[in-house]
Amino acid sequence: MSVRFEFLGPLKAIVAGQEAVELEAGTVAQALEELNKTYDGLAQRLQEESGSLHRHINIYVNEEDIRLKENLQTTLAPGDVVTVISAIAGG
């Protein structure tokens, strides 16, 4: 059983508009590395050169903000739902 990644709002374009992407990974960092192999530019949209998340990007594992967990080292289990959102400011 794999992990389900959902990119919401403008970030959906990163995964060609797909509602969700399924993959297998042990941590959020590993999942991003895996996704970056398939989706060109994903790492630049989500991460700094150092590998840490851009500060306007939030990732939730089963609705829990990974900043309040182990950040990118947050572990993933089969069936987990990972949601990725971006801050927006237009009015």
Binding site: G9, K12, R55, E63, E64, D65, I88, G90
Partner: protein
């Protein structure tokens, strides 16, 4: 007309105008009176501020403060429905005032034709009971958040980009998170995308602004004992116009949030620099001191 007859006429007008609210068990006559006694500040009368102001004026919120230093441009009219073609070149707060008085002359409209800054924001926000954020840049959004937390003013947040929107209610209750619990700091300007660059599907502002108006009314009524129902406190509602979907994400209060959790925060010690707004040079971001 004799004064007593005029009072009777005004009273009948009041009942008639708000009849569909008063009929609701959750609002009633007392709820409508609460709305009439409430002062709401709308920061930005553009895409989001337009539907917010129109609905709050129609709903009979007693005083609406409108803050915007901008003039109406032709490219605003695709989504900023308070303003019309003949308003191009006029201050947005002036055309907004006219439109709102046309909808409901009973509402007191106060215009503030300037930009919200760290120097003027404290006095401004403290004149009102609730704040609605319809601004268009991160620095202003962080400033408004920080001051609302400090002044304990409920804040209704809304933002849009392309086909997407976000809305939530920061009620400032002890268990309520704030914008910095959601996003601790503004984006690096190298990565921030503005509506100018990315575009905005006009009706998105109508959807999100209407939701902001609904949240504002619910917070006001809930706070006065009229239990409408749960607000978006600690939930971020996200709208995607491409597939016509709504999602909510749990917004956890960060126990280490320097603004709403750690005592002693003062917005006056923070640097707020507009790095994403139209025409502004990219430089510093809104950093906590």
């Amino acid at each position: 007309m004799a004064p007593s007859a005029r009072l009777v006429d005004e009273s009948l007008d009041w009942y008639n105008r708000y009849a569909r609210h008063i009929t609701l068990d959750e609002v009633g006559e007392s709820g409508q009176q609460v709305l009439g006694d409430t002062r709401v500040l709308i920061i930005g009368v553009g895409g989001l501020g337009s539907p917010v102001a129109l609905y709050l004026a129609a709903a009979g919120v007693g005083t609406l403060g409108l803050v915007d230093d901008d003039l109406v441009s032709l490219n605003n009219l695709q989504r900023q429905i308070l303003h019309g073609t003949s308003d191009v070149g006029r201050p947005k707060v002036d055309s907004a005032l006219e439109a709102l008085k046309h909808i409901n002359p009973q509402v007191n409209i106060v215009t503030h034709q300037y930009r919200v800054t760290p120097r003027n924001v404290w006095e401004l926000i403290n004149e009102y009971d609730l704040v609605v954020d319809g601004s268009d840049n991160f620095a202003t959004r962080f400033l408004i958040n920080d001051v609302c937390v400090q002044a304990k003013k409920p804040l209704i947040f809304g933002a849009v980009l392309q086909f997407s929107g976000q809305v939530t209610a920061f009620t400032q209750e002890a268990d309520s998170g704030c914008y910095r619990c959601l996003f601790p700091e503004a984006p690096d300007p190298r990565y921030a995308t503005t509506c100018v660059e990315a575009g905005i599907f006009g009706v998105t502002t109508g959807i999100i602004g209407s939701l902001q108006a609904a949240e504002a009314l619910k917070v006001i009524l809930n706070d006065s004992g009229h239990q409408i129902g749960p607000t978006l406190k600690n939930r971020l509602l996200m709208y995607d116009g491409k597939d016509s979907s709504f999602r909510t994400i749990k917004l956890s209060k960060n126990p280490n949030c320097p603004v709403c959790s750690i005592p002693g925060f003062d917005f006056r010690k923070v640097t707020y620099v507009d790095n994403c707004a139209v025409g502004s040079p990219a430089n510093e971001v809104a950093k906590l001191a």
